[in-house]
């Protein structure tokens, strides 16, 4: 059967009209727009209510980075007439760094989405795998010498 959706996750029905996080009214318009776009583009179970504040900070940082980028590439420019670096550059750098860090924590990055993301503990390699990795093409002739594979 063809897969209709990118995700198969389902949540128990709890009577709420939507189970996705909602943007709080205190958010600035651009940050709110980012909030809605992020929440609507991830699986329903991706965020929990406890993630709300962290997500808000992420959206604000993204909004600030966008604002700074607009200034840098628009009216202000990267360097002013006296050759001084624009203060928006610093704002852009800090906001981008914050957004990048929060994106990882909120599992919004490419590496976080990868199903085969690197595990902290690699699985054990079998003796045959090690033989192949070490290019061990000797089957024990008289010339066999040296401690092969070093497993014992």
């Amino acid at each position: 059967m063809a897969r209709l959706y990118a995700t198969d996750d389902t949540l128990d029905f709890d009577g709420q009209p939507t189970r996705k996080l909602r943007p709080p009214s205190r958010l600035a318009p651009r940050a709110k727009a980012i909030f809605v776009r992020v929440v609507s583009n991830v699986a329903a179970g991706h965020f929990r209510p406890a993630d709300q504040e962290l997500l808000e900070r992420y959206c604000e940082a993204q909004a600030v980075a966008e604002m700074a980028a607009a200034k840098l590439f628009g009216t202000d420019g990267l360097v002013d007439t006296s050759g001084k670096l624009s203060p928006w550059f610093q704002a852009h750098t800090v906001a981008s760094r914050t957004a990048s860090s929060l994106a990882s924590r909120l599992r919004l990055t490419v590496s976080a989405r990868t199903s085969k993301a690197v595990k902290t503990q690699p699985g054990p390699s079998s003796y045959y795998d090690l033989m192949e990795l070490e290019g061990d093409d000797d089957d024990g002739g008289d010339e066999a010498d040296g401690d092969r594979l070093g497993r014992a």
Binding site: S126, Y127, Y128, M131, D138, G140, A152
Partner: protein, 136 residues
Amino acid sequence: MTTEETKLTATDLDALERALVAVCRRSPEDAARFEEMLREKDWREVCETAAYSMQCRTLALKCWQAPPMHSGDVAYGATATYGNKTSEVRLRRRMLRLGISIYEPDPAAAIAKAERARRAARRNARVAAAGPAYVS
């Protein structure tokens, strides 16, 4: 269908016995399981099961990889079927050349030990061939 049983040598018998002991020492559950198997099945069958279990564990084999006791003598490349992959056959041949039983519970350790012994013997032979060394 039945397959012809491999004739067991003294080395094989020793390896099978050690495999059974090793598997029973692994955990009380394994000991109980193999003790029960011994009551119901043939000694050789139980020991072969123990050797299989030990070899899979000590060589950290994947489920599609054959332990030396199940490998064949002819290699058909890296994509061959169970027991006839180059690396599987190579390990079995190496064991046989070193005089290690194919039922050895820890083939890697046994190979290392045999190769160490072989190197030492070769070194001793070279020293003996060079003649006695006199210190004045």
